[in-house]
Amino acid sequence: MNVPVHIKSIPSNKKHLSDQMYITSLVALVAIGLFLIASLFVPNFFQFQNMLNLVTNNWAVISLGVGVSFLLVSGNFDLSVGGIVALSGVLSVWLAQSIGSPNALASGLGLPYWLALLGAFVGALAIGGLNALFVVKFRIPSIIVTLGTMMVARGIAQVITQGSQRNTNLPEEFGVLGNLKVFGTSMQFPVLFMALLLLLAILIERKMVFGRLTYWIGANPVASKLSGIDNAKHITCLYLFSAGIAGVVGILLSSEYQSGFSNRGLLMEFDALVIALLGGIAIAGGFGSVIGMFFGAIILAVVTSAATGLTLSPDWQYILKALAVFLAIVAQTWALARRNK
C-alpha cells in the first residue's frame, strides 16, 4: 500500500492549536454547518429532538467507531466489528434459549441468562484474539486478517442460525437490557453505554499513558519499539478492546430486537471506518481523535437523514455519502497542507 505521509507538524509559537485540535474543530464546524444548511432546506429539521435523534439513532456505529478509531490511530484496521456484532448477538440468544424444542432453531443450550451473556462476550473476545494473533504474531496486513475474521465471525453466526434468525424460547429477562430506560428518562440504556464509552475513550486518549502510546505506535512503530514499548501487547489490547465493544453492541442489539439475526451489523464495519476517516483520523496512523470520529458520525447522520427528509429516493444516500467523504478527505488534506506550508 502506498500511503501518503501528509502530517508533518512543525512546532511554532504562533499556533495555539495543535494540528489535531485544528482538524477536530474543522470537522465539528463542518458538522454544525451541514446541520444548519440542512435546517434551511428540510422542514422540521431544526429541532432539539432531531438533534438528539441524530446521536441516539447511531449509538451502535459510534460505539464501534471508538474501537476502530483507536486501532486506526495505532496504524491498524478492524473490519471484523460488524461480524462480531452478529456473532455475539446470535451467541447470546442461542446460549439462552431453552432446551428441548423439536424445532432446531427454537432449541438452544438453556444456560442461565448471565452465563449466556458472558459466553457471547467471550466469543467476541475470541475473534479479537484471533485478529491480534494474525496481525501481531504472523504480521499479516490487518485489512486482510480482519476481512477474514469478519467472514469467520459472521459465518459462525450463520451456521448457528442456519442462515436465518433465532427468536423464540427466550427467557423473560432477555429483552430488558436493550430496551431499558435510564432513570425514568426516555434515554435508552444502549445510548448511555455509548456516552460512557465516549467519555472513557476521551479520557484514555487524552490523559492516560495507554492512549498516548497508541499515537506513538501509529506514528512510528519502529521508533516506539526501539524506545521500549511493547507494540505487540499494546495492539493485542486494542483488538480485544474493539472486539469487546462490538460484543456488547451485539448483545444489546439482540436484546433490543429479542432475536439473534446473522445479518445484523452488516456493513457496520465500513460505516465505522467511514466515520473515523470523516472525523479526521489518518489512515496511516498516529493522528486523529475520538471526538473527531464522533463529529464524523454526525456529518454522516446529517447527510443521510437530510436526504430522507427531502424525500429523495434512498438510492441518493450512497451518492451523498460518497460526496461527503470525498469532500471531507480533500478538505482535511488541503487544510493541513495550507497550515503547515
Binding site: P141, G148, G155, V159, A322
Partner: protein, 350 residues
C-alpha cells in the same frame, strides 16, 4: 587457521542443503496452487461415491456440473488477472463490485432499449474503463489513499446504478413494453465451444492477454517496480502515476466485462449483482500467492486461485448447507494469508 577450516567444512553442507531446500520452496511457491486445485477436485469427486458413479449425474466430475461451475466462474475469472496486476503495483480497488453492478445496469438498459449486442458490449466496456480511470484520477491526482478513494467510488457507483434502474423495480428486466432481447442470455449461458459460453472464453482470452502483458511488456515490469519500491521506481524514471492510472482503467474494463457476464447469466441488470466481489477478488488474488504489500504476484496463479474458490464454494453445496459458505471462505482466506506469510518468511530465511 584451524577454526577457519572447521568453519568452512561445517558451512559447506549447510549451504548445499539450504540451496536444495530453497529450490524446493521456490518450486512449492510456483506450483503448489495447481496441486491444491487438483487435490480439491479429487477430494470432491471421491465424495458420495457410494451413491453415484464416477462421471455420472450426482458426481462432482459429471460433465454438466463442471460446465456449470466454469460458467458461473466467468465473472471472477475475468476480474482476477487485472486485480492481480493492480495489487502487484501496490494499489487496491474496493469498488469493483459496484463497477460490476453499474455496468450490468448500463448493459441491460442499452439492450432493453434496442441496441444490438456488439455496440452495447463495446459501450459498456468503455464505461468500465471510464469508471476505472475515475478511480485512478482520485488516487493519482487527488492523492487520496487507495482504500478510501475506492470506498468512496464503491458508494458512488452503487448509488448511480440504483438511480439508473427504473422506479418501482429492483433491477432492469422485461416489463410492460420493454422486452429484454432474446440474445441477452447468450453471452453468459449459450455454449459455443466445449459447451462453455462466450463469457468463459472471453475470460480466458483476457487472462492470456494479461499474462503476456505482465511478462512481456514494459507495463508489467513497471507495475512490479512500482509495487516493489515506489521511490526507486520513480527515481529510475518510471512514470508511476501513469502506470497506476492505466492499471485502474484496465481493472475497470475487466469489472465491466464481469458485470456483463453476470447480467447475461442472471438475465437482468441488477445494480447489486456485484456486491461482495471486492472480497472475492482479494481472496482469489491472495490464494494465488500475491503479496498484499505489492511487488509480487502472477496473473495465471490468480486465475487458478479463482478456480479453486469457485470449486470449493460450488462443490461444497452438495455436501453441506449453503449457510456454511461464509465461514469456509473466511477460514480459507485466513489460511491462505497465513501460508503465504510462512512461505515468504522461509524464502527470505528469517
Amino acid at each position: 587457521m584451524k577454526t577457519v577450516k572447521n568453519m568452512s567444512k561445517s558451512t559447506t553442507p549447510e549451504i548445499a542443503s539450504s540451496a536444495v531446500s530453497g529450490q524446493i520452496i521456490s518450486f512449492l511457491r510456483n506450483y503448489y496452487i495447481y496441486f491444491v486445485l487438483l487435490a480439491i477436485v479429487v477430494l470432491l469427486s471421491l465424495t458420495n461415491l457410494d451413491r453415484y458413479e464416477l462421471f455420472e449425474r450426482g458426481n462432482f466430475l459429471y460433465e454438466k456440473n463442471i460446465i456449470n461451475i466454469l460458467r458461473a466462474s466467468a465473472p471472477i475469472l475475468m476480474l482476477a488477472g487485472a486485480f492481480t496486476l493492480l495489487m502487484v503495483s501496490g494499489y487496491i480497488d474496493l469498488s469493483v463490485g459496484s463497477t460490476m453492478g453499474l455496468s450490468a445496469v448500463i448493459y441491460a438498459l442499452l439492450a432493453i432499449n434496442g441496441m444490438p449486442f456488439l455496440p452495447a458490449f463495446a459501450i459498456t466496456a468503455l464505461c468500465g474503463a471510464l469508471l476505472g480511470a475515475f478511480n485512478g484520477l482520485l488516487v493519482v491526482k487527488f492523492k487520496i489513499t487507495p482504500v478510501i478513494a475506492t470506498l468512496i467510488t464503491l458508494s458512488l457507483f452503487k448509488g448511480i446504478a440504483l438511480l439508473l434502474v427504473m422506479d418501482g423495480v429492483s433491477a432492469v428486466k422485461s416489463m410492460g413494453n420493454l422486452k429484454m432481447p432474446s440474445w441477452f442470455n447468450d453471452f453468459g449461458r449459450e455454449g459455443v465451444l466445449l459447451g462453455l459460453p462466450m463469457a468463459f472464453w472471453v475470460a480466458v482470452v483476457v487472462t492470456a492477454f494479461l499474462v503476456v502483458l505482465q511478462n512481456r511488456s514494459l507495463l508489467g515490469k513497471y507495475a512490479a517496480a512500482t509495487g516493489g519500491n515506489p521511490t526507486a521506481a520513480k527515481l529510475s524514471g518510471i512514470n508511476t502515476s501513469k502506470v497506476v492510472f492505466v492499471l485502474y482503467a484496465i481493472v475497470g474494463v475487466c469489472a465491466a466485462l464481469a458485470g456483463m457476464a453476470r447480467a447475461s447469466f442472471m438475465s437482468l441488470g441488477d445494480p447489486l449483482s456485484g456486491d461482495g466481489m471486492e472480497l472475492t477478488a482479494i481472496l482469489v488474488v491472495l490464494i494465488g500467492g500475491t503479496a498484499f504489500s505489492g511487488g509480487e504476484g502472477k496473473v495465471l496463479r490468480s486465475f487458478i486461485g479463482a478456480l479453486i474458490i469457485m470449486t470449493i464454494t460450488m462443490g461444497m453445496l452438495t455436501l453441506v448447507p449453503a449457510y456454511y459458505q461464509t465461514l469456509v471462505i473466511g477460514a480459507v482466506l485466513l489460511a491462505a494469508a497465513a501460508s503465504n506469510h510462512l512461505i515468504s518468511r522461509k524464502e527470505h530465511g528469517s
